[in-house]
Symmetry: C2
Subunit: 328 residues, 2 copies
C-alpha cells in the first residue's frame, strides 16, 4: 500500500514535492490543496484532484501525510499547527529564530491528535542542521562554519524589487573563495559577515529610472546588503529571462575540530550541496521526511519532531536489512 501524500500550496515548493513523490514508488499523490480557485490550478500529475483547502476538513481518511508548502512568514505558523491535530504533517519552516515557538505549537497539536508533525525539513534548516549536529557530536571541541551559495536568495531578490524604479531583480549569494579555503585547511579563521559572502545583483530598471540611485539604495540597505560587498549589474528583461530564470542554490557546512590527549590532530568535516533547483531539492527532502512521519506514526509515535529526531532509516524506502547490506 502506497503512502498517500497531500500537498497544500502549489507554488515552486509544491511543484517540487509533486515531482519528488513521483520518484518514490512507495508513495502516491492523493490531492493538491489550494487557497486559489481549484479550477485555476493545473498540476502535472494526471488523475489527481486539485481541491480547495477547505476540503481538508473531509479528507482525513484519504491522506496519510500532508506536506505544507506555504511560506514561513505567515502561512506555516498558522497552517502547520492548524492541521497537525488531523494529519501527519511536514513543513519547511525556515525562520530560525522562531523555530522554538513553532515547534511548541505543532507539538501540542500533534500530541492532541495522535499525529506526527515534522517541522523545518529542507536543507537549512534541515540537512545542514543535521550535519551540524553530527559533526558537533563527533568533534565536541571545534568550530562551525556555514557558507551559502552560489545561489539565488529569494528574500534578497524581493528586497531589491521593492526599490522604486526596479522592474525585476535576482540576487546571488556567493561564498568568498579565500574564506572557504582557509576554513577547509583547518586554519579556523574568525570571519565577519563581509569576509564570508559577497552579493551579486542583476537588476532590470524601469524605463527612465535613476540607476545610480537604485544601485546606492541596494548597497546601503541595512541587514540585506550594507554589511556585504555588493555588486550591481543592470540588465535587460530579456537577459534576465535568458540567464537568470533558474533557482540554483547550495552551500556547505564545515566543522573543524581537534582530538587527542594533546589535541594534536585536526579534522575537517564538510557537507556540501550544489543544487540546480532549490525548491525541487527542498521538496525532495520534505518527501523523504513524509515517509518518516508516516512510519513513526504507524509505530505509535506522536508529537512534534524535527529531522534531528528521525532515525535515518525511516527516511528510506528500503528495509533495515537492505540498508545494512547495500549502504552500510
Amino acid at each position: 500500500m502506497s503512502i498517500r501524500i497531500g500537498i497544500l500550496g502549489y507554488g515552486n515548493l509544491g511543484k517540487g514535492v509533486e515531482s519528488a513523490v513521483r520518484q518514490n514508488p512507495d508513495m502516491e499523490l492523493a490531492a493538491v490543496f489550494t487557497r486559489r480557485s481549484p479550477e485555476s490550478v493545473s498540476i502535472q500529475t494526471p488523475g489527481v484532484p486539485v481541491l480547495h483547502v477547505e476540503q481538508l476538513e473531509h479528507m482525513k481518511s484519504q491522506i496519510d501525510v500532508l506536506i505544507l508548502c506555504g511560506g514561513s512568514a505567515t502561512d506555516l505558523p498558522e497552517q502547520t499547527p492548524g492541521y497537525a491535530a488531523s494529519y501527519n504533517v511536514v513543513d519547511s519552516f525556515d525562520t530560525h529564530a522562531r523555530i522554538p515557538e513553532h515547534f511548541a505549537a505543532v507539538d501540542a497539536a500533534a500530541r492532541a491528535g495522535g499525529k506526527v508533525g515534522i517541522i523545518s525539513c529542507g536543507w537549512d534548516p534541515g540537512m545542514f542542521s543535521l550535519n551540524r549536529l553530527y559533526a558537533n557530536a563527533i568533534l565536541p571541541e571545534g568550530q562551525d562554519y556555514t557558507f551559502w551559495g552560489k545561489g539565488v536568495s529569494q528574500g534578497h531578490s524581493d528586497a531589491i524589487r521593492r526599490i522604486k524604479g526596479v522592474a525585476d531583480a535576482r540576487q546571488y549569494t556567493i561564498p568568498v573563495p579565500a574564506a572557504l579555503e582557509a576554513v577547509r585547511e583547518g586554519r579556523n579563521p574568525e570571519l565577519n559577515t563581509r569576509q564570508k559572502h559577497t552579493r551579486e545583483c542583476f537588476v532590470v530598471a524601469e524605463e527612465g529610472a535613476d540607476k545610480v540611485r537604485i544601485e546606492q539604495e541596494i548597497k546601503t540597505m541595512p541587514n540585506y546588503f550594507a554589511d556585504y560587498d555588493t555588486t550591481v549589474h543592470f540588465i535587460t528583461a530579456k537577459e534576465m529571462a535568458r540567464d537568470h530564470s533558474g533557482l540554483p542554490h547550495g552551500g556547505c557546512v564545515i566543522r573543524t575540530g581537534r582530538t587527542g590527549i594533546e589535541k594534536d590532530h585536526g579534522h575537517v568535516i564538510e557537507y556540501r550541496l550544489n543544487l540546480d533547483s532549490n525548491p525541487e531539492f527542498t521538496g525532495a527532502v520534505l518527501t523523504a521526511c513524509a515517509r518518516a512521519a508516516f512510519r513513526m506514526n504507524q509505530e505509535g509515535m506522536t508529537g512534534g519532531k524535527t529531522i534531528l529526531d528521525i532515525p535515518p532509516s525511516y527516511l528510506s524506502a528500503k528495509s533495515g536489512e537492505e540498508l545494512r547490506r547495500q549502504l552500510l
Copy 2:
C-alpha cells in the same frame, strides 16, 4: 550522573576512544580492559584502572557502555556478540561483506540480555554509510560515488610488509583528481577501479634486498595493487619515522541525482572528511555512539543497531530544546 565507559583493547583505536571520552563532559572512563598483562599497559587517564579482560565478568554494575576496540578479522566477531548480552556495546566492525551475519549475532545476544549493541560505527562503515542513506532517500534517482584518501591504508601497508625483504611500509590511497572533478561536476562518469584511486607506497627495504623484485611483487599483488596504478618509493627507516608516522585518512561520499518532472535539474550532495588521525576520529564516532547506546537502552530499547537506526539527537549531549535553538 556521567555515562561510565569501558574500553576493551588498548591499541590505536582504544587510545582514540580514551581521548574522545575526555572531551565529553557527560562521560567518564571507568576502566580499560586488555588481554595483555594489565601491569604492562599504561594509559593516559590518571586514576582509571587497567584490568584483565576476564574482569568483565564482574563489572556489569560499573560500566554503562563497553566500547570494543579490537580488529574486525578475529576480535569483534567473537567479542561483540560475546559481551552484548551483558553490556551495551559499540564496535567499529568494518568487514562490509560480513555485516549481516555480525549484526544478526549481536542482535540476538543484545535482545537476550536486554541491552543495545551498535555495530560498525566509524566513518566507513559509519558516517559515510549515513550519508549514502540520506542522499539516496532524498535523490532516489542518481548515482553514488565513494572516494577514499588521501590516507594511510593499514591493510595495504600490512600486505607490503609481508613481502620478503621489506622492513617497513606505508601505503597511501589517493583519489584521482580528474575523476573526483568529473563526479563533482555532475557528469556521472562510469569509473573503473584504476580510474578512481592510485596507490603510493613508501617502503624500507632490508639491507641487500632486491628492490626491483619487491617493487614488482607490490605492483602485481592481486586485489591489493594489481588493479591500480601504483608507485613505489624506497626510503630509509629514518625517513619513514620522520615523514610517515601519522595515520591520516579521509575521503568523500558523493551522490548526484536529478529531480523535476522532466528530470531537468541536477544536484550534487557531498560529504567529505579530512582526518589527521584515523583512529582518533573513529574513536570519536564510537564515543558519540556510546552515548546513543546508553540513552536508547535507558528508554527501554534493546537489540542490534547501526548508526542508520540512531535518532541523530541521541548522539548529542544537548537536549532537544538546545539542539532546535542552536543547531537547527
